[in-house]
Symmetry: D2
Subunit: 273 residues, 4 copies
């Protein structure tokens, strides 16, 4: 049938990039979602199945990570300008466009950050047989630390490929539920529990999410006499190290991919002994 | 077939409640999502279609709004305790449970609040013909004001039922995109634009979302010389007044339902004249 | 500051409309999400707070429901054309636009429909102490029936405002989990359980969601000898009757608003007796 | 502070697994999301930072992919039983649990599948200056083919690492919008357009998403005389090949990870020439 290509555009969307500026003291982070798209002389890709002009979208993704290494990314407009300058000079490109969304973090301490975004404060209150019982909690309190997190010494079996690490990003979304002692009614203690969780996450020298979880629970119990126990659920939001060596670049723990699936999930309940 | 009811529970979920404490100066708000569920002697509802013991879930919802009127709701645990005490004494109920999620807001001024939850900072940068152009922006900046918002004087046709109001809740999620003058590179101006938008939202005596939008755009242009224009998109997140008069209660603009669908959507671009 | 309104648009988004064509036998439904937007001579709304030209977005919503009453809505393009013709002739309007999204349903029987959209088949398998136990299930199986659903005879207390009804829309998203007898391994029975749930939902003369739930569970147990018990969780996705009488129109159970919040939630476990 | 670990559980969640049964003719697929969790003697991980008993959650993920290779996965219950048997015998484990969600696909042809899940039919109708214009469309029509998709011959620069492939999974969620000729009112043509898109996706020997997109657009124009043009937007939902060679297993294009981020995005408008 006589058809024609009237317009075309292609690219890579939802490139997740976290850059840690470790040179800075305190550390700084920038957390971005980037879409790259190109227009240009790509007709034969569509009409003839001829890919000789088709810069792979996987290459676009690699390029974003590689260029992120040496750019300060102090402002997304400046980094995006570098990207479009690079892509605009590739063969056949008549227009290069970069959409960027920056996810802001607020600082907890020198190496830890918080995104209170979807934080909610929760309770479950139940009455049966003339007695009321309850738990209190919070969820969606997102935190990240750029250092003081290790994971090593774990067993290796025939399906183990994970390398040991003494320095990784640790990120999670805290869900906590706790029980107050019978008759305790000072529900404003939520704030003390929350502070204890945040401070411990930030300061803990972590050997595992499990160990940090335990320390956080312990700190919450210490901070509030009214607490009987606390249950924590910490998804491990993996930030994957990007291997830049194929591009002749070192990555001294600066460039990471933030991922959502799969995720580790660590849960425990801590009580007074 | 010989079957039996082994366990049952029913209730109303996702009851959205916003209470404004107007007596307080400054105003205070509490924003909750509540689930009520009951267990008890409800077998015949399932097995015989006999509803004589079945408290309607719509009644549960009404009850939550009615009891919210006179409760301070200083802590969700206390309000939920009142609710389970009420529901537990209804005929047939052996267990009443209330799940509550509180959505925290931070204060902007005496009558305005912010939920920076899903805020993102955005840019679109494009390069074609050897020239780079860009817009900057933000989205997901959620704000609410408890007073200084009216909507009246609009035309009434045969499909108009909306009453006029001189005092309503105004809530929106700000999306803004702006253009800097050619060559302007001080991208840190994002912060000044953001502050201008927030301060104007909080202080404006609003006759409509449209008028507030215009004032916000005007303020952003005034705050930053580098801005050429700004486009704003403001969904009107309707907070519906709850009529408590069937329950013999007044509602002096204190009890509202936060809704998501449908929503007004107001958009405009403001330039320097 | 010298600012000017360069462009503006406003309207109502996410108007949820379900129309049942009862004249047809079998019944037919159409399920739409509609956005209306207008451009035109609305500058003074923005700049002067003068609403005399501002058709309320609430009026737009009412108009959509009212015009839906007499339109066949056989194709969304035709209904949307009627809407833009109506809105384009309102004072000041230079451009009227209607976005429509139709959510397709497939027919189960004369008065029941299915949207297999997000259906998932689930299992939880656990091993401890050398023994494996499991449950199987499904979730996200969305169904709706246009008749044979009543809710009446429920108790009325001081917070009850819900009218009794002998004919309403019943819609839910089925979540089911069931247990097979020890040693039973014919996991293909999932299909027989699913069919029993759908057929019973479609054919049941419902006095309540509870009664329909029980009948569905009973039918699943009857359909599959290997089942020991089945637990069902049925959110009541309320379809609210639209009162068209202010517009001089009858609504013989044809025009509804599909809502998401709040929702009833009915749960029970049925076993062999 | 005297605290104690009352309960703990950990594991890997949202492991995305797609298995293609290529031996079968026609091909068969199974699409799963799996959560693995373990309970047992892991106290020292929490309290002492001693990871010697802590099977890495990354190892759990690898194990799921490796065991999927040789299991038929005819029923999720059977595969999950194999998994819990494997995990239950690891050191320290007292309880192994596997949650599985299967995402059903319906067959389009021997090597292609459809998930009509979130499909919507769309239109945008606009009236200005006394004239009505419109586009029609659909979105959320998810399709996947297990063969007849290649991507090779693309340029390699210093940031290119993607290997060439002559056989990959191709999956996308179709968004299409088309324009009918002026005065054309047979809106039921949506069905013919949809069928042309699906059939062409299924049967096309694809050298790239771009080429398949073009063929789909061409087929839609051929199928419906009333169409003036059609615009397609096809996200490339990458299914990543899992390298099982570290576990001594071949992966003859059977085991894949379904990913959501990042994704390629290919867009074009096809007209009659």
């Amino acid at each position: 049938m006589p058809a024609a290509l009237a317009w075309n555009r292609y690219g890579k969307s939802s490139i997740r990039l976290v850059k840690v500026r470790r040179a800075a003291d305190p550390h700084d982070i920038v957390d971005l979602t980037i879409d790259v798209s190109l227009e240009g002389a790509f007709e034969k890709v569509y009409t003839d199945g001829d890919n000789s002009a088709c810069l792979a979208t996987d290459t676009m993704k690699n390029t974003v990570y590689a260029l992120a290494k040496d750019h300060p990314i102090d402002h997304i407009e400046a980094f995006a300008s570098s990207l479009v300058e690079y892509f605009a000079q590739k063969p056949g490109v008549s227009l290069a466009r970069v959409h960027t969304a920056e996810h802001p973090w607020s600082r907890l301490d020198a190496h830890a950050f918080m995104s209170a975004g979807s934080e909610e404060w929760t309770s479950v209150v139940e009455r049966t047989g003339g007695r009321t019982s309850m738990t209190s909690g919070l969820r969606g309190l997102v935190v990240l630390k750029t250092t003081d997190s290790a994971f090593s010494g774990f067993p290796r079996d025939k399906y183990t490929t994970l390398p040991e690490t003494r320095d990784r990003i640790l990120a999670t979304s805290i869900t906590a539920t706790w029980t107050y002692a019978g008759g305790f009614r000072d529900f404003g203690q939520r704030s003390a529990v929350r502070t204890a969780l945040l401070k411990t996450f930030a300061s803990h020298k972590s050997e595992s999410v499990q160990q940090t979880l335990y320390a956080m629970g312990e700190a919450a119990l210490a901070a509030c006499d009214g607490l009987v126990d606390i249950q924590l659920s910490l998804p491990n939001r993996h930030h994957l190290f990007v291997d830049l060596s194929p591009f002749g670049l070192a990555n001294p723990n600066e460039i990471f991919v933030a991922t959502e699936q799969p995720y580790g999930l660590i849960e425990a309940r801590i009580t007074r002994s």
